[in-house]
């Protein structure tokens, strides 16, 4: 993959944290003798991301996602390993590198709280040395995509969370970065605003070709934006590959949902697969992938007029990811 803009090899980060037992005695002892514990946040992570890719970086809280993003954006020095982003070692924080990346965090603001976003954006224009023509064009496009018009001239402190997130995106992308690290960009937003931000990220990626590494706990974000996912748990990469393939590896079954006009015999349903849920008008069945076509045909044939509707789907991605994190079955790490 010669056009990789993010190359990571053996990246490791260990935090050294002060550890103290509970109780007054331990507190007093810690004044004189401190004990430290090494907490591995990321261990031996390796992956490559090509220009223009949108990759989902998945993991539960404390898995090492944000630490990885901070290392790749140059905020943190790693304990070991190597990384190159747009040809630069991130933690050297060279100006040419910083001009080509952005890190957007859903729970943090980079705008000045007390003044209008438009004023903060002007400062960014100068810091990133953006020509007036390019600035106007980029801001115009961002305003169009994010419907920023009415928001730019209000003090940031007066914006709602969703509105603030939109202007945060504008601030993070006004310099047209080649790589965007998005850490929980839809955190705390309502469903409609989440969908809007998702559409924006997809459209921005399509128009500008920005490479995006995205973390999110909302699987809708990942399903809508990422064909490829990297799964990290306890600091180790568990999976790197197509999102669809992850479902196949981790959930070797399909979900058949049957809508009924009249009830079906229990014995018949039990023969087809595992009944996940059942009521008068519908049944959900888990069926091994390889048997799904044959069982579907059997349902259609045997239920006849009693069948109102039928659908065959992969299990919800949340369920798949839950299985990965629960360690039900560790799939072999694949290379995209």
């Amino acid at each position: 993959m010669s056009d990789a803009v993010i190359e990571v090899s053996g990246l490791t980060k260990v935090y050294r944290v002060h550890e103290r037992q509970e109780g007054l005695g331990a507190t007093v002892r810690s004044l004189f003798r401190r004990t430290f514990k090494d907490i591995p946040a990321v261990t031996d992570a390796s992956f490559r991301i090509a220009a223009g890719e949108v990759v989902g970086f998945l993991g539960p809280n404390g898995a090492g996602k944000t630490t990885t993003l901070k290392m790749l954006s140059g905020l943190l020095y790693p304990t070991a390993g190597e990384a190159r982003v747009v040809g630069h070692v991130p933690w050297k924080r060279e100006g040419d590198f910083l001009r080509q990346i952005t890190l957007l965090m859903g729970n943090r603001t980079q705008l000045v709280w007390d003044i209008a976003a438009a004023d903060s954006l002007r400062v960014l224009q100068e810091i990133y040395r953006i020509s007036e023509e390019r600035y106007r064009a980029t801001l115009g496009e961002l305003t169009d995509l994010l419907d920023l018009g009415p928001l730019l001239h209000k003090p940031v402190r007066n914006l709602s969370l969703g509105e603030r997130m939109k202007v945060e995106f504008a601030a993070g992308l006004v310099h047209s970065p080649r790589v965007a690290f998005l850490d929980e960009p839809t955190l705390g937003l309502d469903v409609s605003m989440q969908a809007r931000i998702r559409r924006f990220v997809a459209e921005h990626n399509r128009r500008a070709g920005t490479t995006i590494l995205l973390t999110s706990h909302y699987m809708d974000d990942v399903v809508a934006l990422c064909r490829r996912v990297i799964v990290i748990h306890h600091g180790r990469l568990l999976y790197d590959g197509e999102l669809g393939e992850l479902a196949q590896r981790m959930a070797p079954y399909k979900v058949i949902t049957v809508a009924l006009r009249e009830s079906a015999p229990s014995a018949f349903l039990d023969e087809l697969g595992t009944v996940v849920s059942r009521d008068v008008a519908s049944v959900r069945l888990q069926v091994p992938r390889e048997h799904a076509p044959e069982r579907t045909a059997r349902i259609v044939r045997d239920l006849g007029a009693a069948l109102a509707d039928i659908s065959v789907e992969d299990p919800p991605i949340e369920e798949v990811i839950d299985r990965v994190f629960a360690g039900e079955r560790m799939p072999e790490a694949a290379t995209a």
Partner: protein
């Protein structure tokens, strides 16, 4: 860089204007202490026949009137803001931009002094008039004094950042900074003119950087030392400023390696 500074200045004016009252309340710090110490030393001088060492009442008035201005022009408070930024996580966005975070502070610091000088200068003039202040400064003193004030401001600012950088190792930098400020309080010439300090304290004040932060520029501007001594003192400021800059660069670069982006 000029365009960047112009944009930062505009932004800084907008931010400072948002909190006009606090802007001027902070300026009180520049003159409250010097006025208190002036009143105290004048009372002591008058109880001793009108003189305190080589200082008359008018000399004390001159020293502290100028000290009000120099205190204001050399003030640095960035360590407190820096600790806050690290703890709140707002340093990270700055570190991600191709502009060193110190530039924001330089603009903010300079602009605040400029904007609040309109409140501080009349107070210094009023103090000078009230205490019949005597100045022995020649044009050479004024020129050297101006240079010395600029160097003192740079020195205070740089050492402020050296101590602020301790936040990379301990997120509670307040105690370290308070110790630094209390030491500066004793040796800088805030409590009393440097020339009134007991000999060992005067030597310490001029060996350490503290005397060069306030007492030296104040004495030069008031004409309290001859031109040759003033030049030597400015040399001392240059040496300490160079040490401060080297120290700052070392501590900052080492600190960034320690940075764990707390809360960011």
């Amino acid at each position: 860089m000029i365009r960047v500074y112009r944009a930062l200045i505009t932004q800084s004016i907008q931010v400072l204007s948002a909190y006009r009252v606090s802007l001027f309340l902070y300026a009180l710090f520049s003159f409250i202490r010097p006025i208190i110490f002036l009143a105290a030393w004048v009372a002591v001088a008058e109880s001793q026949g009108g003189r305190l060492g080589s200082f008359s009442r008018a000399d004390l008035g001159g020293y502290f009137a100028i000290a009000i201005l120099v205190t204001h022009l050399t003030a640095a408070w960035d360590f407190f803001e820096f600790e806050w930024e690290v703890r709140r996580g707002s340093l990270s966005p700055k570190l991600l931009r191709p502009l060193h975070p110190i530039n924001y502070s330089i603009v903010n610091n300079g602009l605040w002094k400029l904007m609040t000088s309109v409140a501080v200068v009349p107070v210094a003039v009023a103090v000078a008039i009230t205490f019949d202040a005597r100045f022995a400064a020649t044009p050479a003193h004024l020129a050297l004094g101006t240079v010395s004030v600029v160097l003192a401001a740079g020195l205070t600012f740089t050492f402020g950042w050296v101590f602020a950088s301790a936040v990379f190792w301990t997120t509670r930098v307040h105690a370290i900074v308070t110790l630094y400020q209390r030491t500066a309080f004793i040796f800088s010439g805030q409590v009393a003119p440097l020339l009134l300090l007991p000999a060992p304290l005067l030597v310490a004040a001029l060996i350490l950087p503290f005397g060069y932060m306030l007492g030296v520029p104040t004495e030069i501007l008031r004409g309290g030392v001859d031109v040759t001594t003033a030049l030597l003192m400015i040399g001392g400021q240059v040496v300490w400023l160079a040490i401060g800059i080297v120290l700052y660069r070392v501590v900052w670069n080492a600190g960034l390696r320690q940075y764990s982006a707390v809360g960011a």
